[in-house]
Subunit: 226 residues, 2 copies
Amino acid sequence: MPKGIEATLLSAVVEGRIKPGHRLSENQLAEAFGVSRTLVREALTRLEARNIVMVKPRKGWFVVEPSAEEAAEVYATRRILEYGFLINSAPFTAAQIADLQAHIDEERKAVDASDKTRLTYLMGDFHVRIVKQSGNATLVETMRTLAARTNLISLRYQSEHNALASHKDHVEIFEAIARGDMKTAARLSFEHLEDVEAGIMIDTSPDAIELLKNTLRLDEAPNGRG
Amino acid sequence: MPKGIEATLLSAVVEGRIKPGHRLSENQLAEAFGVSRTLVREALTRLEARNIVMVKPRKGWFVVEPSAEEAAEVYATRRILEYGFLINSAPFTAAQIADLQAHIDEERKAVDASDKTRLTYLMGDFHVRIVKQSGNATLVETMRTLAARTNLISLRYQSEHNALASHKDHVEIFEAIARGDMKTAARLSFEHLEDVEAGIMIDTSPDAIELLKNTLRLDEAPNGRG
DNA sequence: CATGTCAATCTTGTATGCAAGAGAGATGGC
DNA sequence: GCCATCTCTCTTGCATACAAGATTGACATG
């Protein structure tokens, strides 16, 4: 199974089992998967192409820690994509609405259980699920990659409060879709992602030092001294 | 320069020097670039992640020949992305408009020179250039990949007539942007891509046998006999 | 002449070996 | 005690060797 490694790593990232900044050792992964470094590197290369991991030369592979700027870019792209999709989409069928309803129920359960990790995953999957109704694999894949990156952003910056607010937004978006009001759904989706993005900028960081290092572009800058 | 190979191959594809279905030999590329197969495979893997090339196991790497279904997906995604961007974009600045004007002029030159290959490239680059004004690297990269795939589609299906019609559409879109009417620009862009997609379905194929094979999913289907 | 078979060759798939940069810790000088 | 330096180890970077499927052509056989 050639793509097993990539899929496994992606799942771990999306489900929050591997966090932003985590180092991924080629040797360890090779041993864990029972293959040589070659296949591990292939999988990591693919994930790098999707901006999920990055390599620091001779230092190691790391799950990306999106900067505030990158975060803004990803959210802006998602806004554009989701708005463009919903505003031009025909009203959903009953089956499609039921699918989204099931998702909302799961989100609710995760909220009640205060399962933050699962909630973070579900937050992104909601939008993937919306787009999935189009049957457009290209669109879904694009959204899935953006959602994965958003997850990394959320895990790094987002507070529980925002996660809860996001869930409420999702409910509203769902309700608009359910009553066939795609225009409102598109607007709500756009505003929702704007809110989330704005929330990121003012949130306190879980690790001030790490955030500072990233903000100052330490670690990666080759111009160590002027 | 680790990414030189990928960029070089992508350029060749985007500029139409390598056509859909073309086989890319690891050995030949390795010799051409003066490196080992390892780096070539890395570049091809990245391009595969972007749906620009594909590998048939033990047979070789090939520039993708998008099926009609894939073509529809790519165009639909571009429609969504471009509409969503333009409709939510502030009016462009004079400098931004000038940048697009320069592009339109180049398109015009290619039309006059009947330079179909260059025109195909410029057709995609127009939309990349629009999105570039956002300064959003994520958005630009997404659009660039979609544009590259669209180029492959155009090279395979699109007639000169459609290329010319597309240029006229671009002029109209540009004029709407230039006068700050983003709503009209968004609508025109959406309709334009709908027209192009519709055109693909009725166009005659440049190679009926190849098209048939693709339609019937030969070559790639593992279920050779039932 | 038609056809099935076998071998040579070409392709990618994967593992492995070696080079070289980066970092940590010991060690020596002060 | 403090600091520089050196070495040892760990990391990825890249090339290469070998495995194994796919194809093509020769060639024998009917």
